[in-house]
């Protein structure tokens, strides 16, 4: 039952499903036991995080293939499996998920006082969904987890959000749901296609990558587009990104952290784990589309960010640009590109998660997200300012922080594919510096908040520690990226070997 699981216990199952159990636990607590609910949620998320460390330490980063596998057939005769496993592409994102979930849960401790039970239950269900996405190796299971994230996220936005929260929640849900339903049709196609093989139908990754290269080009084309929309919406890739600013602006802080930190990565992960392996030839041939869109996304996102007046929207649009690098890196199909893309996902998870937390810190004190109504925060909250500025610098790709490594790798990869692709992309570093510094100056340095609210210092465990921790992780990745890159190396190499591309120049098949 537990394939080559070194630990002998179904650790991935435990880690993945523990939050779901926690959600049930929370749901069973009495409504007015506020602190009990909070502590239970924190305990669950914390234990999950500890178990995640077990996963990390028992993961052999030099090993190829999937590790810590849990596997059994759950639909007899249909060939569907419950199949969990991590490889180098997944393990970092898997870790990131539990980290940011813990941050979100802890952050919410005193800031959420309304309908607590539902809140924490939603957060925990969301965590299970996200964790599952990164370890599910059967397409059916993947789809289940992929969709499972929708409802709690929509609830988080709709119930605990601000502004046009219902509109945003609805938009978030429908947009991503529509994308993933097309993917569903593609999954069913895979199933039908795969059911003709000798061993019976299958949807598991390991079997599918044996089959996919033999599929006709026409079928691969359909696979490509079928999966593309789901993940492009999730990323979100231009022009499917418009749900993102709305969702971010109206989401509660914890929701934004999760949304930016983890949810968007599901798209990039999906590209790597499913779209490309299932349409190897078509991915290479159609790569020009995501490449072009990602270049547009980077510049388009950056320029729009330049004129944002809402702090959350600013960071949200900057995410569009940042995630553009992920897509760009992936579809270069070079070692540097793909590794850079994964690194960018992890890095963006840390940085944007922390930035949104920072926005929360400000919002809790000033009750506004409008940059024009902020200012001079540096005079009142020095440490916070320092942290936020560091994170902003990380976001604009300052060397020594994680985003730089990712961006330089991706740009290098793009350059190798087509030099003129890299030139506009790299111009991003100018624009990103402009908007981040402009924001920092307006929010922290100049002026005073319009209505001088009291600015209590940061709450240590809820605000300061997560910010410091995330910033430190980003710095660690920035100054010593090798271990992270080595962890993903075997998986990325395997993926690239699988594709019909030249190892150095990737998609250089482009005209």
């Amino acid at each position: 039952m537990y394939g080559d699981n070194a630990l002998g216990i179904p650790i991935l199952t435990i880690v993945t499903l523990l939050p779901l159990v926690g959600a049930l636990l929370v749901a069973l607590l009495p409504k007015n036991a506020a602190n009990a609910i909070r502590w239970t949620a924190i305990a669950i998320a914390g234990i999950d995080m500890l178990l995640m460390l077990v996963v990390l330490f028992s993961y052999d980063s030099a090993g190829a293939g999937f590790q810590l596998v849990d596997r059994f057939r759950w639909a007899q005769g249909l060939g569907l499996e419950y199949y969990l496993g991590v490889d180098g592409i997944a393990v970092l994102l898997y870790f990131l998920t539990s980290l940011l979930s813990l941050v979100a849960v802890v952050y919410s401790f005193s800031f959420v006082n309304h309908r607590l039970k539902e809140y924490y239950a939603s957060l925990l269900v969301l965590e299970t969904g996200m964790l599952g996405v990164f370890v599910a190796l059967d397409l059916s299971l993947f789809y289940v987890f992929f969709e499972l994230t929708l409802i709690p996220m929509a609830l988080l936005i709709g119930v605990w959000g601000h502004g046009r929260k219902l509109y945003s929640a609805m938009k978030f849900f429908l947009y991503t749901f529509a994308g993933s339903l097309v993917m569903l049709a593609a999954i069913v196609s895979v199933y039908v296609q795969a059911s003709g093989r000798p061993g019976g139908a299958t949807l598991n990754y390991v079997d599918l990558i044996q089959l996919a290269p033999n599929w006709s080009y026409g079928f691969q084309t359909w696979m490509f587009w079928g999966f593309f929309f789901a993940f492009a919406v999730k990323m979100p890739l231009f022009p499917f990104h418009t749900w993102l600013p709305d969702a971010h602006v109206d989401a509660p802080t914890a929701g934004s952290i999760i949304l930016a930190g983890v949810l968007l990565k599901m798209g990039g992960y999906g590209f790597l784990r499913w779209l490309i392996p299932l349409s190897p030839e078509a991915s290479v041939n159609f790569a020009v589309v995501p490449l072009a869109l990602s270049v547009v996304a980077i510049l388009y996102g950056a320029y729009i960010t330049l004129v944002q007046r809402d702090l959350k929207k600013l960071i949200a649009y900057s995410s569009v640009a940042s995630m553009g690098f992920t897509v760009l890196g992936i579809f270069t199909f070079t070692q540097q590109g793909v590794q850079g893309a994964i690194l960018q996902m992890v890095s963006h998870g840390l940085i944007s998660g922390a930035l949104f937390l920072g926005v929360g810190v400000i919002y809790e004190r000033l009750h506004t997200r409008e940059i024009a109504r902020m200012g001079g925060i540096a005079n009142l909250m020095g440490v916070f300012t320092a942290l936020f500025v560091v994170l902003s610098l990380a976001n604009l790709g300052l060397p020594g922080m994680s985003a730089f490594v990712a961006e330089i790798l991706v740009t290098l990869a793009a350059f190798r594919v087509q030099w003129w692709l890299a030139v506009p992309v790299y111009a991003y570093i100018i624009v990103s510096a402009a908007y981040m510094l402009w924001m920092v100056a307006r929010v922290f340095y100049l002026g005073k908040p319009q209505e001088y609210h009291e600015m209590p210092p940061m709450k240590i465990w809820q605000e300061a520690v997560p910010l410091v921790g995330l910033a430190l992780l980003s710095v660690l990745m920035g100054v010593w990226a090798t271990p992270f890159l080595e962890t993903m190396e075997p998986a990325v190499s395997a993926l690239l070997d699988y594709l019909p591309v030249a190892p150095d120049t990737g998609t250089a098949l482009l005209p």
Binding site: E118, I151, L166, L174, A178, A185
Partner: protein
């Protein structure tokens, strides 16, 4: 004068309907003998009856297909599968109806009589292999549903819904009958298999006439399953009917109607599947589109669900439309969908009925903040709506997947994608209800009469919706066997 030769009769094959008819008699006699009986005694008797019928159907499921009564009845996996579906919806209907009947002082004996008779009709519809039996069965299915629609006889909307349903139902029955007439006249037999022999080669010189028969039949049955443009009665009748009745008939009539369609198309006209297939493709697209689009603009949840049920008819039609003699999945996917639909849709209407019993209503405003007032009800309704939406871990997802799979098998991928996109559209109105329940402030308090049977019914529906969403494979395998039979 030659002696009368009696046909061989296998009573075991029709034992389910015998059990139901016996139950009808028991109920009627009890009503006559003890008119003052109160409480859940009728419900208990009815449940026992349907349960017996279900047990007898299960008992038959192991044996080989039985054809009896001069070939007018066949008990095979297809009919048994649909019998399960119908009887399941019957049981759930009884469970959720009890408290409404008692709260509104509706004649229980009459209600259960009519309900049981409609079950007899539906089982006949799905088991009949002869046009004559089928026609009588369809009428025995329809007439009780007209009656049930009007069962809240003190409510004008109920009367009016019944009136419309009745008039249009009779109208479409006539169209259907005309189709049967032609099918009989062209082949000289009312037996489906015999007709099938005539149409095996595409109808020969009578091709046009056979097509006429097929199209008339499709028109007539499209009315029963509420396919566009024969669906117009649906919103009015569904909204006018007592909610429990809507719950019941929205799932069972559809299942039986599709059973009849499947039988007729695949047994009587299999040789002309290209022709009727394309017609059904067009109908399915129209139906999916209209049902889901108009549902978006409804403010009454009951009416919204009525339109959504039109949409679901469209989805199911997709499954049948892509039928080919080789495509085993087509019929199986329709069957599975019908089963899946029972739990989700009946459950959804059931929660509406629950709310009405509590003094609430069925408009969108009534849904506001339901989660705060009645978390269990809101949670249940959410699960049902997610099921209808086709969300993972509910039965709606595999149901939709199998339909799509069938389209792919038949190289009709675009139809599958249309289906999938319209499912996404459908999410709009289901979500809106959920949003109301979770994100709005409640408007009023709910009374809380005890409704034990209702709760059992709803819990059973939840279990069905979620349980089948995870462990769908036995049902799916059974459906595939039924389709292969």
């Amino acid at each position: 004068m030659p002696p009368v030769v009696y046909p061989s009769v296998n009573l075991f094959a029709i034992s389910s309907i015998i059990a139901l008819v016996v139950t009808v008699l028991v109920v009627l006699m009890l009503a006559v003998a003890a008119p003052r009986v109160r409480g859940a005694i009728y419900a208990a008797i009815t449940l026992a009856g349907i349960g017996t019928a279900l047990a007898l159907a299960v008992a038959q499921s192991g044996s080989a297909p039985v054809s009896t009564f001069s070939g007018s009845w066949r008990s095979d996996t297809l009919s048994l599968f649909l019998t399960f579906v119908i009887l399941t919806s019957g049981i759930l209907a009884v469970l959720i109806s009890d408290s409404w009947l008692r709260l509104h002082n509706v004649g229980q004996a009459e209600f259960y009589t009519v309900l049981l008779c409609s079950l007899v009709g539906m089982i006949t519809v799905v088991s009949a292999t002869d046009l004559m039996t089928l026609f009588v069965g369809i009428e025995l299915m329809s007439v009780p549903t007209y009656l049930l629609t009007g069962f809240a006889k003190h409510e004008q909307r109920s009367n009016e819904g019944a009136m419309k349903y009745f008039l249009l139902g009779a109208f479409s029955s006539a169209i259907l009958l005309y189709g049967f007439t032609w099918a009989f006249g062209l082949s000289g037999s009312t037996n489906l298999a015999r007709i099938g022999e005539f149409t095996a080669n595409g109808g020969g010189e009578a091709r046009a006439a056979f097509l006429l028969a097929i199209l008339l039949i499709i028109a007539g049955l499209s009315f029963k399953v509420a396919a566009v443009p024969f669906h117009m009665w649906t919103p009015d009748a569904y909204q006018g009917a007592p909610t429990v009745v809507t719950a019941y008939m929205s799932v069972s009539v559809k299942a039986a109607g599709f059973g009849a369609l499947v039988r007729l198309m695949t047994e009587a006209f299999p040789g002309m599947y290209r022709e009727w297939g394309i017609v059904l493709v067009v109908l399915s697209v129209l139906t999916m589109l209209l049902g889901n689009v108009v549902a978006i603009v409804q403010d009454d949840v009951k009416r919204m669900l009525a339109y959504s049920s039109v949409g679901h008819t469209g989805f199911m039609l997709v499954g049948l439309a892509v039928w080919t003699p080789e495509n085993r999945l087509a019929v199986a996917s329709v069957l599975f969908y019908a089963f899946a639909y029972v739990f989700a849709n009946l459950g959804a209407f059931g929660v509406l009925a629950w709310m009405e019993n509590h003094g609430g209503g069925t408009t969108l405003d009534h849904m506001n903040g339901l989660f705060g007032r009645a978390p269990a009800a809101a949670g249940a309704l959410s699960i049902f709506l997610l099921g209808l939406m086709g969300f993972p871990l509910t039965v709606g997802l595999p149901a939709k997947i199998f339909l799509v799979q069938a389209t792919i098998e038949a190289d009709y991928l675009w139809l599958g994608i249309v289906l999938v996109l319209l499912s996404a559209l459908a999410a709009v109105f289901y979500l809106r209800v959920m949003f109301r329940m979770f994100m709005y402030e409640p408007r009023y308090a709910l009374a809380s009469p005890s409704q034990p049977l209702m709760v059992i019914g709803l819990v059973a529906s939840v279990v069905g919706t979620v349980g089948l969403g995870v462990f769908f494979s036995p049902v799916w395998e059974y459906a595939q066997r039924a389709a292969g039979a």
